[in-house]
Symmetry: C2
Subunit: 503 residues, 2 copies
């Protein structure tokens, strides 16, 4: 039996090719970061289908050099992107890239191990247990959510995944008592400010859409969900024979940056045996600064807490920390144990020494995200990360003051973190005509975004159109916030002038 | 109002720091690939908790230089990893890294855009529609699964996610007709060879665990699921008033690499209004070669098909292609439309020109995976990728012949792709004592893996312990397969010798 020589034409990990191609991409990205503020921030004015038309119908038959590929990225793709890393991107929430986050991502992608079970890459699983404990401590989370206190954490791809997992755990905890047929009685509670992913997640795990309660908030509580409001809705459901299952408290809502009172809501949840999840996707990062940890007060009443280092914590996408007080509740909803995984001597889930993370998440396969978050924490240190958070909070504070000091504008909700919600409110031109005010704000936002100099998004609360400025980009400095304020003022002049001519 | 200077100590995307740190990691990984065959392939013999003990209890307060971080990776982490990129890794299924996949991952992580809606990064969403069509055509999928034919595709993180999404779509299609209370009547069908993720997925979407049918296969059909077997089980369920919901056909099962007959199963599914999903996670890659496309014959009867470029298609983790025949069924189960996403003028889902991919998956946020798969396809071309597949198939064929020619061994199931399932079968020493044969094979596998020279895993079928050799590593060449065969032969001698002494 002789040796059949394999086709040597593709050598996918030839070290020289690897090094050459990778360096070319590093140079490409270095140039991109240097120039990113020269691109229009938002690319939404493109004609749909533009890129599709530029590209061939089928994959090429023959391989092409990396330079050609990068040239096509430069020519065809970059002009069609919204530049989330632009220092003048203030839309949605930030999605931080950083040198350390990128280095960590490279290590994850390069080693390309799959820590689905402890033994499938022991150091990867253990690093994850260490890093989630580090993060939990930085945020001031109660000991019971950390491995060192009997709870534990996992790194998932998104809050949405974390929500599906915790909803499934809560559901199975309840159905274990009630029987599966009672799935139609389970009710999930959130506020009108809660991220829509909870509604989607509840639907995914089989809760009837009619059993998702959207509890109203108001300006009186700063759009936080009050315990009183939850109690009222829960009592009505219980009287109808329904079963309260799951309550979501948000620290830093997507629309307005509001914060629900975790302790109060936790007490309601306890009384009714509900699972309490605390969603701190965006604002959780701020809790590494002691001055923001008060918002997580009461987290010891939570069954689970999540936050996204990939938003405002310098960790390139994707990375979501999920902590649970009782890992067994999570793993009993999500574990699997087929023969083809019995290849490695894991000692089971539930001990920080040897975790099978496949039982803590939806997917079996998973990336080595822990090394990314670990590199971020090592490279910047807690002190550097606090400085990163505080410089954005300071810039947002400056912006809020500037808006408040300009009589043409109003701040709609007091800023808590780095998100400022404001609008044009030139009462002497449009009086109390809400529709006219909204129309002016729509015009203002459209004009600002059409300039290409920034990208800012909106929200609607109590029927009012509100402009959101979310400070937090990795390259965003005070001067970018000052620039966008100058731009807003100029465009506001134009809009008001047009209304004056009409009026 | 003056300018408050921001703290300049952390400059997360300073181009010089970015370039320096990134080049250091490229050099680190280049060295890693050069030396990867010097590490013990499997790290499972470590004491659990080893790394946890080495690391401090808390994140550092001050940032540290990248060299220190990389030195710690080298010293503390690498020895604790199982080296999935070793050319002698034959365990589970391959998890390909490549220079192109890595370059694509770097572009994705570096640009760090979030194409959850078309307008949140138009070119990223459009590139995804192009790349999934390219892939579908390479695999010879029917037109109706491609955007160009009214269907369409999406890149997710894993088959598990894809399965949850298709199960939710199938469930909601059925419940729309039956009412939500009938969720307890829905039944999901799979074979005893189907990946456990279907069982987990069905549970996640709220199907009662008792409604998951594991239909038996046998050696007579090469462990493929026969239509007859499915019909029998379905008829019994229907007679009991249950509702057949979803049937999974696998092309290339995890344990044995078996292939279910897609067309036959599709016809059964059609007759009962079931959703047919074709899971080609591993073997789908082979379908870029015309000689393997027959296994997907009948895919025009499928509601959805998935395969993982992150396994055997040179695309670093993670990347799973999911195609659906009717995107509206997927999006009606998964779409959301809150105010804070109405910031960009998308023209809705369902046209390839402007897709809101958030409605095609679990998560709202998502990575720019399309650029990774696109770089792989551009850099290697269809021809290069076929050569990559064929060299592994040729090596597996060589190994299978070698095993068959050695009277101490037997091939347990005929090889279809690049997975060979075999075992020691020295009948003249142990006769028909199944337990003794299993014990010898366990010993053989343990000895081979303990050598550190390779990592091979097992499976159990019909009560028999079977060794699996999955060829497909990016660096795996014929010589590595020959080496592992030599190692197996040597260790087999030792095992047999011990049994001779005992007997």
């Amino acid at each position: 039996m002789g040796s059949l020589p394999l086709d040597a034409s593709v050598q996918p990990l030839n070290p020289e090719t690897f090094s050459g191609d990778s360096r070319a991409v590093v140079d490409f990205l270095t140039e991109y970061y240097r120039d990113v503020d020269k691109y229009p921030v938002r690319a939404a004015d493109l004609e749909p289908g533009r890129l599709r038309k530029l590209l061939p119908e089928a994959a090429p038959e023959h391989g092409e050099p990396m330079e050609d590929v990068l040239e096509d990225v430069r020519r065809d793709i970059l002009p069609g992107l919204t530049h989330w890393q632009s220092p003048s991107f203030f839309a949605f929430f930030p999605m931080n890239a950083s040198a350390a986050g990128f280095a960590g991502e490279m290590l994850s992608a390069g080693l390309n191990v799959v820590p689905f079970m402890w033994a499938a890459s022991p150091a990867a699983a253990e690093l994850e247990t260490v890093v989630v404990d580090w993060m939990g401590r930085l945020l001031g989370l109660p000991q019971r959510l950390l491995f060192s206190g009997g709870g534990g954490g996992v790194l998932q791809g998104s809050t949405c995944e974390a929500v599906v997992c915790t909803l499934a755990a809560a559901r199975d905890r309840a159905l274990g008592r009630l029987g599966h047929e009672n799935i139609v009685k389970l009710v999930v509670y959130a506020s009108d400010q809660t991220h829509v992913t909870f509604q989607k997640g509840a639907r995914i795990v089989g809760i009837p859409p009619s059993n998702f309660r959207v509890v109203q908030t108001s300006s009186a509580s700063g759009y936080g969900l009050t315990a009183d409001a939850v109690r009222g809705v829960v009592d009505r459901d219980v009287a109808r024979g329904l079963v309260p299952l799951y309550l979501c408290a948000t620290v830093g809502t997507t629309g307005l940056g509001a914060a629900d009172p975790v302790r109060e809501l936790g007490e309601v949840a306890r009384r009714h045996g509900m699972w309490l999840h605390v969603d701190a996707a965006y604002a959780g990062s701020a809790a590494i600064c002691p001055e923001f940890q008060g918002y997580l007060d009461g987290a010891e009443l939570a069954d689970s807490v999540s936050m996204n280092p990939h938003k405002w914590f310098l960790t390139n996408a994707d990375c979501c920390c999920l902590w649970v007080a009782n890992p067994r509740e999570l793993t009993s909803a999500l574990s699997t144990d087929p023969e083809y995984l019995k290849n490695v001597g894991t000692n089971g889930t539930g001990t920080p020494a040897a975790i099978d993370y496949k039982d803590w998440q939806i997917s079996l396969s998973r990336r080595f995200r822990a090394i990314k978050l670990w590199v971020v924490l090592r490279r910047y240190g807690a002190g550097g990360l606090r400085a990163h958070i505080r410089r954005h909070v300071a810039a947002a504070k400056w912006f809020e003051r500037a808006v408040a000091a300009d009589e043409r504008f109003e701040v709609v909700v007091p800023r808590k973190f780095s998100l400022v919600c404001f609008r044009l409110r030139p009462s002497r031109f449009v009086g109390d005509d809400g529709e006219a005010v909204d129309a002016m704000n729509r015009e203002l936002l459209a004009a600002v975004n059409a300039s290409g100099q920034t990208f800012v998004t909106h929200f609607v609360v109590d029927g009012k159109f509100v402009i959101r400025l979310a400070v937090g980009g990795a390259m965003t400095e005070m001067r970018h916030v000052m620039d966008v304020w100058e731009l807003l003022q100029g465009k506001a002049d134009d809009v008001i002038h047009r209304y004056q001519l009409q009026g």
